[in-house]
């Protein structure tokens, strides 16, 4: 069986802050990223929070 060539694409399941950060870093490095999200929009829990501590900035 012939060895298949490695694929330079990545699948990321979940688009919370962790998933998004991974996606951005990989995309910046030049990899193709598929960001898979169960809901209709990305962002996870954090996108729905208005503010984060300790600075109370907007989360988005």
């Amino acid at each position: 069986m012939a060895e298949k060539k490695t694929t330079g694409a990545v699948l990321i399941l979940g688009s919370g802050v962790a998933g998004i950060q991974a996606a951005l870093d990989l995309a910046e490095m030049g990899f193709k990223v598929y960001l898979v999200e169960k809901k209709g929009a990305i962002g996870g829990l954090m996108a729905r929070l208005d503010k984060t501590f300790p600075t109370n900035e907007c989360a988005v």
Binding site: K4, K5, T6, T7, G8, A9, V10, L11, I12, L13, G14, S15, G16, V17, A18, G19, I20, Q21, A22, A23, L24, D25, L26, A27, E28, M29, G30, F31, K32, V33, Y34, L35, V36, E37, K38, K39, G40, A41, I42, G43, G44, L45, M46, A47, R48, L49, D50, K51, T52, F53, P54, T55, N56, E57, V60
Partner: protein, 950 residues
């Protein structure tokens, strides 16, 4: 969000992962995509559909109100596209209605869409599914059935609602204003009785404090009590936040766990009956109760993990190793975020980057060689025409509009010279508004833009991009910081705020009027990194970069690699540290891409991102290393508490690390000992060192467990303030108690007293439950001392111009979103020089830093800020005053031919120049100008600032 725009990212919403086949490098993933019934490419999110949709669906979460059957996930959703809920849509359930299809101006509705299975070829998979909040309705006692009892998330929505509408916080049951609120911690966490969650959910303590403070901002007279068991403020800056909340912000913290929330129908209030810290009964009445619910792994994710054959922990979190914190049990499948254990945002972001590094390591051979810079967009409209300025104001929800009269400000802006257009938006940062901004720029032929919103420090990049995409030079922009400099800091003033806002707008207009077109400087990147510090963090980082194919220089100041990890025997999950350390060292040493310098220190730094030049001194010789990026992982130290608790005075008193050493050596003082006392927080959480050292609770508990396991008849006491065994570490705490370790809280009655008598060492401490003094005769006293910053932090900070926090740790660019980046481009941090942390978090940070560094190393060039000085040679008289003052040696003398004579002038190196402007200040001819901050601009701002009255 940046993600929505990145050209390498394809977002697949309403999609589930079904299966992964194949091997690392060659996976075949199958996905199931559920129909959205709205064509993403066509939908313009105008909302015409939802406006007329007859089907109102109440949200199951309290305070989210209701939505239509065709709806947006939330107003700032990415992608900002509507979707149809097939369970409530009349067309899809009863084949009636279909109104949206008729109304949609772009024919985006497609009821024919069907569920489909997609297949992709990928090289690696990252799982970041996150957790779901615990459902409190499962336990009747917590009274969630009452409308005034909310989960923390539901309360956040209520707060947001109240903020948006600028109405007081009202009770959902009666609609009356809320006077007091109780927060109940550990609902669905640290609980074996009402749910099977022995672990700590980690984030709820800080979440509660945050919400309490936000609520107090809405209403300063609101009385807020937080009922807790242990306050787990273990992260960077958390302790200070907690202390401030309790001491300065008037939040009341009650150490008591509530058993129930009872609604009294007569008083229409919630009764909390509890026993206070003194053991007395207290009955209190509340308008509202917030349940700080814990987190759990969603069932569909557990199922997926089983399907994929991933190893899970007892509590269904993804099992990882401290040395491979983002690796699952399946090669090529990685995990980040809370799925591997509940964690805060910064840690989740760090792990996101770490997972990216792990993926990049295995996919390095196929990383695309060349990268297109996103900055290369055609810019048709330039800044050299007559200024046509557009002013855009942001409500920021109501953050700005509740304080400043935006109508008046708008009118004022329209009257300013050269302003040809002005308008306002609810959220200027929304994609929708960004799009609108671009349209206006094109339609109105604007060539300069003023944004009246928030801080340029956080949002300038966003608006610059909008300008870029609108086809005008991105620097033709100025932001007036209405939110941070007016709305948030002057809520007590009325008309004056609007006047100040007018001044800020006038200043911005005055400045942007003289703004010129700038182009970022593209600097070549040399594919080489410098890592400072040869501890676990430094080595992991170096190794990750080397595996990704980059050359690394690893600089360690001591004679060998290993750092603090050399003193540790095992991690909290009982992995052997020394074994892994040895393996790691060998791997680092034999990697051909890593060059190691021992006994080496940094003495001089020059250069910038893409091309730093760091001079190190090693064995008396100096060597200059040229590198594109640098990672600083120089570790931390241990606090030695001389004069405290008899340390240095009695031989039975040790610090934790000392105790580990003597115990490992089989010292008779340990072998013979029957009684052991641990004192926690020695040197931590104290004035001057107001931070939690994060690792000591877990470490002491593990040692206590060992001591008990060796000989159950030993007596072990741990004197603590809050036990901070976050996440699944909580299970260790439970194990220690089960083995009979006695925990005594000394927070209430003061620190333990240590004395020595004929009976040996004697500790007197008050019991927090019995409220009487206890006397413990002990053979060994172990002090869990603080982790303190490496003194070299300040030294390096000044060499590299880096920020340091008030405790002496490195300050990251953003505590949540950029946890391993320095503000200075091209430099990153990892490990204990950032903040105290356990080994696996150090490793995660190291990998994260490697990923962040790789995003630069992977490119051939980076764009440099064009905010640099230029000289007007026509006016320069060559006085050369500027030469000496330039901190970067960017200015050099120049002789040019002028007519028939040679005249002296100066020249400025654009890459070296950082734009500090000292030369501009000193130049007597006023012929040096720092782009964006020219004298003309600053003067214009001064004049504008002083034009209006206060």
């Amino acid at each position: 969000m940046e993600c929505g725009r990145h050209f390498n990212i394809e977002i697949l919403t309403r999609t589930e992962l079904l299966d992964i086949q194949g091997r690392p490098g060659n996976f075949r993933v199958s996905l199931r995509r559920y129909p959205r019934y709205v064509d993403i490419k066509r939908c313009i999110a105008c909302g015409a559909c939802a406006d007329k949709c007859p089907q109102v669906v109440p949200e199951t979460t309290k305070n989210l109100g209701s939505r239509k059957a065709i709806y947006l996930e939330h107003p700032q959703a990415v992608p900002l596209k509507y979707q149809i809920d097939p369970l409530s849509c009349l067309k899809l359930t009863e084949n009636s209605c279909g109104l949206c299809e008729e109304l949609c101006p772009t024919q985006a509705i497609n009821f024919e869409e069907r569920e489909e299975v997609l297949e992709y070829e990928v090289g690696a998979v990252i799982l970041a599914p996150g957790l779901k909040p615990f459902d409190p309705s499962r336990v009747g006692l917590w009274g969630w059935q009452s409308p005034d009892v909310l989960t923390a998330l539901e309360f956040e929505y209520l707060l947001a609602q109240s903020t948006r509408t600028n109405t007081p916080l009202r009770r959902p049951s009666t609609g009356n204003p809320v006077k007091n609120i109780a927060f109940l911690q550990c609902v669905g966490s640290r609980d074996l009785n009402h749910c099977d969650h022995p672990y700590c959910s980690t984030v709820c303590c800080m979440f509660a404090i945050k919400e309490a403070l936000l609520a107090r901002q809405r209403n300063a007279r609101l009385e807020i009590s937080i009922f807790y068991t242990d306050m787990r403020a273990y992260g960077k800056d958390f302790e200070r936040y907690y202390q401030e909340a309790s001491e300065k912000k008037g939040i009341r913290f009650v150490r008591s766990r509530l058993h129930a929330v009872e609604f009294c129908p007569q008083r229409k209030k919630l009764r909390l009956h509890y026993v206070n810290i003194e053991g007395r009964q207290v009955e209190e009445w509340y308008d509202m109760v917030v349940l700080a619910v814990g987190l759990e792994v969603p069932p569909d994710i557990i199922e997926l993990a089983h399907r994929l054959g991933l190893r899970l922990t007892a509590n269904n979190f993804a099992a990882t190793s401290a040395f491979k914190p983002v690796d699952t049990s399946k090669p090529g499948i990685f995990v980040c975020g809370a799925f591997s254990g509940p964690k805060d945002i910064a840690q989740a972001v760090t792990e996101g980057s770490a997972a990216a590094a792990a993926v990049a390591e295995i996919l390095a051979p196929v990383r695309p060689a060349r990268q297109v810079s996103q900055n290369q967009l055609p810019q048709t409209i330039q800044g050299d025409q007559k200024p046509r300025i557009g002013v855009f104001l942001c409500h920021c929800g109501n953050n700005i509009s509740s304080v400043i009269d935006l109508e008046a400000l708008l009118t004022y802006a329209q009257g300013l010279a050269d302003v040809v257009w002005a308008e306002k938006h609810l959220f200027l940062c929304s994609q929708e508004a960004q799009k609108r901004l671009q349209e206006v720029i094109r339609d109105k032929g604007l060539n300069r833009v003023v944004i009246g919103a928030c801080s340029p420090r956080t949002h300038e990049f966003l608006f610059r991009r909008a300008l870029r995409e609108a086809g005008i030079n991105q620097y033709l922009l100025e932001m007036a910081n209405l939110r941070h400099h007016v709305a948030w800091v002057h809520p007590q003033f009325k008309e004056e705020t609007t006047q100040k806002a007018k001044d800020l707008i006038a200043m911005a207009v005055a400045k942007v009027r003289c703004q010129e077109v700038l182009y970022p400087l593209e600097v070549p990147v040399m594919k080489r990194a410098l890592v400072l510090g040869g501890g676990v963090a430094g080595m992991e980082c170096a190794l990750s970069l080397a595996r990704q194919g980059f050359e690394v220089f690893l600089v360690e100041k001591s004679a060998s690699l290993g750092g603090n990890a050399r003193h540790l025997s095992y991690t909290w999950t009982y992995e052997n540290v020394q074994y892994h350390l040895l393996k790691l060292r060998k791997e680092v040493e034999k990697n051909p891409l890593i060059k190691i310098f021992l006994r080496a220190e940094v003495v001089k730094v020059a250069g910038h991102i893409g091309e730093f030049a760091t001079t190190i001194s090693s064995h008396g010789r100096r060597k200059t290393i040229r590198h594109a990026v640098g990672i600083i992982a120089i570790g931390g130290g241990m606090y030695r508490p001389f004069g405290e608790y008899g340390y240095g005075e009695y031989e039975e008193v040790f610090t934790s690390l000392e105790f580990d050493t003597v115990r490992a050596a089989g010292d008779f003082r340990v072998k013979r000992a029957r009684n052991f006392v641990f004192i926690q927080c020695v040197g931590s959480r104290e004035p001057g060192r107001l931070y939690c050292s994060k690792v000591c609770c877990t470490h002491s508990i593990q040692t206590a467990i060992d001591l008990k396991k060796e000989d159950p008849s030993r007596r072990v006491y741990i004197l603590y303030r809050d036990i901070r065994t976050y996440g699944e570490r909580e299970i260790l705490y439970q194990k220690a108690r089960k083995l009979g370790v006695v925990f005594i809280n000394y927070d209430l009655h003061g620190t333990p007293k240590v004395s020595k008598s004929s009976r040996g060492l004697c500790i007197e401490v008050w019991d927090h439950i019995l409220h009487r003094p206890l006397e413990i005769n002990t053979d060994v006293l172990v002090l869990a001392t603080a982790i303190v910053p490496n003194p070299k932090v300040r030294e390096l900070a000044s060499l590299y111009s880096l920020a340091v926090d008030s405790h002496g740790f490195f300050l990251e660019a953003h505590s949540k979103m950029r946890p391993v980046d320095f503000l200075t481009d091209g430099l990153f941090m990892a490990g204990l020089s950032h903040y105290p942390m356990p080994l696996e978090e150090s490793v995660a940070q190291a990998k994260a830093a490697a990923a962040r560094a790789a995003t630069i190393l992977a490119k051939d060039t980076v764009s440099l800020d064009p905010v640099v000085a230029t000289v007007d040679l026509a006016r320069c008289d060559g006085c050369a005053l500027c030469l000496d003052v330039c901190p970067y040696k960017a200015i050099s003398p120049l002789e040019i031919e002028e007519g028939d004579s040679r005249v002296k002038k100066i020249q400025i190196d654009k890459v070296r120049c950082k734009g500090c402007g000292i030369c501009q200040a000193i130049c007597p001819q006023e012929c040096i100008a720092v782009a964006n901050f020219t004298l003309t601009q600053l003067r214009a701002q001064i004049r504008a600032a002083l034009s209006g009255e206060l």
